[in-house]
């Protein structure tokens, strides 16, 4: 069964680095891993995307090991406005068909 799992919640303080890991046991071999941020009553918002090793953009880094069975989103210095739910989106193989699977989501709470 194609599954992606994340920690349910994480707490942090302003200015700290936060790392959120997504485990994906049956990832498709030829597609990218994407991370999204979601605020209440809004659609997911694209953060970063990668295939292998490390990717960095202006807001985050993404680490993907060689076996691609997990990925870690790194937010370098969080602020209060980073309080949100974070999802990985992973292409999974399931009974011969590829489908897109969102992770279970991690609720990040950033405190002053």
């Amino acid at each position: 069964l194609a599954k992606t799992t994340q920690p349910i919640s994480m707490d942090s303080y302003e200015g700290q680095e936060v790392n959120i890991t997504c485990s994906h046991n049956n990832i498709a071999t030829n597609d990218y891993i994407t991370w999204y941020q979601q605020f209440p009553s809004q659609g997911p918002r694209f953060i970063i995307q990668g295939y292998k090793t490390k990717v960095t953009n202006e807001v985050a880094s993404l680490f993907i090991p060689a076996d691609r069975k997990s990925s870690t989103l790194s937010l370098p210095r969080v602020s209060l406005s980073d309080t949100a739910v974070y999802y990985c989106l992973v292409p999974m193989m399931n009974t011969g068909f590829q489908k897109l699977v969102f992770g279970t989501g991690t609720r990040l709470l950033v405190s002053p």
Partner: protein, 115 residues
């Protein structure tokens, strides 16, 4: 910055009625998606659409669901006979899928309430 739009923002319907949720994807995008999110739960993939046909669908997307691109700008999700458990946020997304990367941009969602 171009964005995906969805209408209506909130739809209330009676069980058994048909509903059509509308989306206008980003104009140069060719790949379109519908997702749903039941209150308090994660986002679930429903269907993807490319070149006027369904390319992938999940087990949630059964015979009561259908999608259509009736013209050059709209992308619709129809639920034929709504059930109470269809109450959820429905998100449309689109991407241009350059190479293998599939960066999807999501709309603000339609909240469907089935009474």
């Amino acid at each position: 910055e171009p964005e995906v739009t969805q209408t209506p923002s909130h739809q209330v319907t009676q069980m058994g009625q048909e509903v059509i949720l509308r989306c206008v994807p980003i104009s140069n995008h060719l790949y379109f998606y519908w997702y749903r999110q039941i209150l308090g739960q994660k986002v679930e993939f429903l269907v993807s659409f490319y070149n006027n046909e369904i390319s992938e669908k999940s087990e949630i997307f059964d015979d009561q669901f259908s999608v259509e691109r009736p013209d050059g700008s709209n992308f619709t999700l129809k639920i034929r006979s709504t059930k109470l458990e269809d109450s959820a946020m429905y998100f449309c997304a689109s991407s241009d899928r350059t190479g293998v990367a599939d960066t999807q941009y999501f709309g603000p969602g339609t909240r469907l309430t089935v009474l």
